[in-house]
């Protein structure tokens, strides 16, 4: 896929800071797609190669599906929603006030947190993005829930650019979906600012077509006594990478980066996080659970960086994998980089299969084997889902998981 050629064609029509786009194009030109260039290795992309993406050729053409049909099969809430179809914001909520929901294209703002020079996929998004959604919650306002839906209805590469800003003491829940039909790339960048005392709950469901590529890079800055509480459910796409950079920049800041990945066939999903503890009394915790069937491969890379000043940091990281087949694989790379001397940081990883005794116990009570296995997998996931405190949203996640489970030839 020649992204640079697309950039050359589009450059005159792309809105916003053209110098920034040009710099991003330079960065992307020199870095290339991670893993796609022979002889060039990247530690940050140690277990995930985008060679299949380099080899893919997306022909933008006729719609393969109706956006409305895709929307209809997502278990959406009745809350306000913004919808991006093929990278363009086509629907914004009318009644979200005092929360402002605007389109990127109307006032392009590339934010301050992203690093196109270090992240090739962020560079790619920066050079090619056409649109996205900005959500702003004024100080002191409880913005309730806003849904952010990214849909692909045709072959192509799409680069939505989103921003979420919470003012001091504000609250918001963002429920984000990614879905589509066909062979395509959704390469999303989200920039998040959570001001002092604010609380953002960010729940994501990645249920892309199993022929699709999904890359999502999030940068979050969490201020004093603020909370960024995120949960990602990955079960779609042939290849996905969820990368989150969370910086705790105010004392008492909290970041939860939880996730569950359910994979089968030859799916590959990479969950990569970097948590920066820059000031004292920050808390970060991550529980990432993988259920891997068929020949699928799960990746967890978690890095906790504790600066010298960040005393009394509490960092926790747990990666667990349930392998449902002997051909499934999990790669787990936890990293702790600690410069402060009074911190509590721990990490752990477990890998296992379903327990034969538990299966027999259920079967001896009349539960058929398939149902017994499914019950035990859901039990394994329950701990991860428990991190989602909103019951209605947790129910939606269970609906998505249930549908995934029904599709499996196990």
């Amino acid at each position: 896929m020649n992204f640079l050629q697309r950039y050359e064609t589009l450059v005159g029509s792309l809105a916003g800071d053209s110098a920034l786009r040009a710099a991003a194009a330079d960065a992307f030109r020199s870095a290339g797609l991670p893993g796609a260039t022979q002889g060039r290795r990247s530690e940050a992309w140690k277990y995930t190669s985008l060679r299949p993406l380099a080899e893919a050729n997306f022909q933008r053409g006729t719609a393969l599906a109706d956006a409305a049909a895709i929307l209809a099969r997502l278990p959406l809430l009745s809350a306000p929603r913004a919808v991006c179809v093929n990278g363009i914001a086509t629907e914004l909520p009318e009644a979200a006030r005092p929360v402002t929901v605007a389109r990127f294209a109307d006032a392009p703002d590339f934010g301050t947190l992203t690093w196109p020079d270090r992240e090739p996929m962020v560079a790619l998004n920066t050079m090619l993005t056409e649109d996205g959604v900005s959500i702003d919650v004024p100080a002191g306002v409880d913005g309730a829930t806003v849904q952010l839906v990214n849909i692909a209805t045709t072959s192509g590469d799409f680069h939505p650019r989103h921003t979420i800003r919470l003012g001091e003491g504000a609250r918001l829940t963002v429920l984000e979906y990614a879905a589509g039909a066909g062979t395509y790339l959704q390469n999303t960048v989200v920039e998040i600012h959570v001001a002092d005392g604010a609380h953002l709950t960010h729940v994501r469901v990645q249920d892309e077509a199993t022929t699709a590529f999904h890359i999502s890079t999030t940068y979050a800055e969490v201020a004093t006594n603020a909370t960024y509480d995120s949960f990602t459910l990955n079960l779609g796409a042939r290849l996905s990478r969820t990368e989150i950079h969370a910086n705790l920049v105010g004392t008492g800041a909290i970041a939860h980066l939880n996730a569950a990945q359910l994979l089968s066939g030859t799916q590959h999903a990479d969950f990569t996080s970097v948590v920066g503890h820059l000031v004292p009394n920050g808390t970060s915790c991550q529980t990432v659970k993988n259920v891997l069937a068929g020949r699928s491969r799960g990746v967890f890379q978690g890095r906790i960086e504790v600066a010298r000043a960040a005393q009394k940091t509490d960092g926790y990281q747990m990666n667990q994998a349930l392998l449902l087949s002997p051909d499934a694989e999990i790669d787990s790379k936890p990293e702790l980089e600690i410069f402060a001397d009074d911190v509590k940081c721990s990490h752990g990883a477990t890998i296992g299969e379903l327990d034969a005794e538990q299966i027999f116990y259920l079967r001896s009570r009349g539960v058929p084997e398939f149902e017994a296995r499914s019950l035990l997998v859901r039990a394994f996931l329950a701990e991860a889902l428990d991190a989602v405190t909103d019951e209605t949203i947790r129910e939606r996640l269970n609906t998505v998981i249930e549908a995934w489970w029904q599709r499996q030839p196990l």
Binding site: Q358, L362, S364, G366, A372, A379
Partner: protein
């Protein structure tokens, strides 16, 4: 009801059951006694279909059907229930959900309507109350954090809800105080009917005071070496297995 003929079973290359003949007529409770390692628990597992034991000979018919050819869940649907000696913990599985899943799976297999959550909870709460179990045991994860006695009572609760035709109680009495013991015995006694049989595996006479068996069988080295009436259990309690072991040697 249950007819076992020449049943032999092994695990790995170790032969554990070496030809068991046993018939439990409908409506009867039979006790299986014997020292550790004689094959009592293996018999329970083989009857309920655990696949790490290989059946190397013999046959088992249950109400006329070939039990050994059925999957564990089919046996359960036909009415076989094994109360585990060491009930398994299921972290993340809610006890009420577990019980309802099991009950509905069995109802479905028998062509009956499934119970909805409300109907089920009403029934489960009534049974729990009858067994003197606190309501919160239904809300907790299956056997997780349960005391030994609570786990055994949970087995009895499952039995009460699933209403089996053949209950195999694998040392359900071990480690229980007298009150809990009575609950287990009452649980079985409550099901007693001309269509219900039980195989009670135990070390002790104690349980059999409350749950009087029609027959007592002594299992030794994978074979039934003696059978008799309830008085056999009392005799064993007094004299131990030593004589029988000497006789068998």
């Amino acid at each position: 009801m249950l007819e076992i003929n020449g049943l032999a079973a092994s695990i790995g290359d170790k032969q554990i059951l070496k030809g068991i003949d046993l018939a439990v007529p409908p409506g009867e409770v039979h006790a299986i006694m014997g020292p550790n390692g004689s094959g009592k628990s293996t018999l329970g597992y083989v009857l309920s279909g655990r696949d790490d034991f290989a059946v190397t000979g013999g046959s088992v018919t249950f109400n006329g059907a070939d039990l050994l050819s059925m999957a564990p869940e089919e046996r359960a649907a036909k009415g076989v229930f094994l109360a585990f000696q060491a009930p398994i913990e299921l972290p993340g599985v809610n006890n009420a959900n577990f019980l309802r899943t099991a009950l509905n799976a069995i109802r479905r297999a028998n062509g009956e309507d499934e119970l909805d959550a409300v109907q089920f909870l009403k029934r489960a709460r009534a049974e729990a109350k009858r067994l003197h179990m606190p309501d919160d045991m239904l809300k907790r994860n299956v056997n997780v954090g349960f005391s030994g006695g609570e786990k055994k009572r949970n087995e009895v609760l499952q039995m009460a809800l699933l209403r089996p035709k053949l209950a195999i109680m694998d040392e359900t009495d071990s480690g229980l105080d007298i009150d809990a013991l009575k609950i287990v015995a009452d649980g079985v006694n409550a099901l007693r009917s001309p269509e219900f049989s039980a195989l009670v595996i135990t070390h002790h006479q104690r349980l059999l005071d409350h749950l009087v068996p029609n027959r007592v069988h002594v299992l030794l080295h994978g074979r039934i070496v003696r059978s008799g009436g309830p008085e056999l259990a009392r005799e064993l309690e007094k004299r131990g297995y030593a004589e029988l072991i000497a006789e068998a040697a």
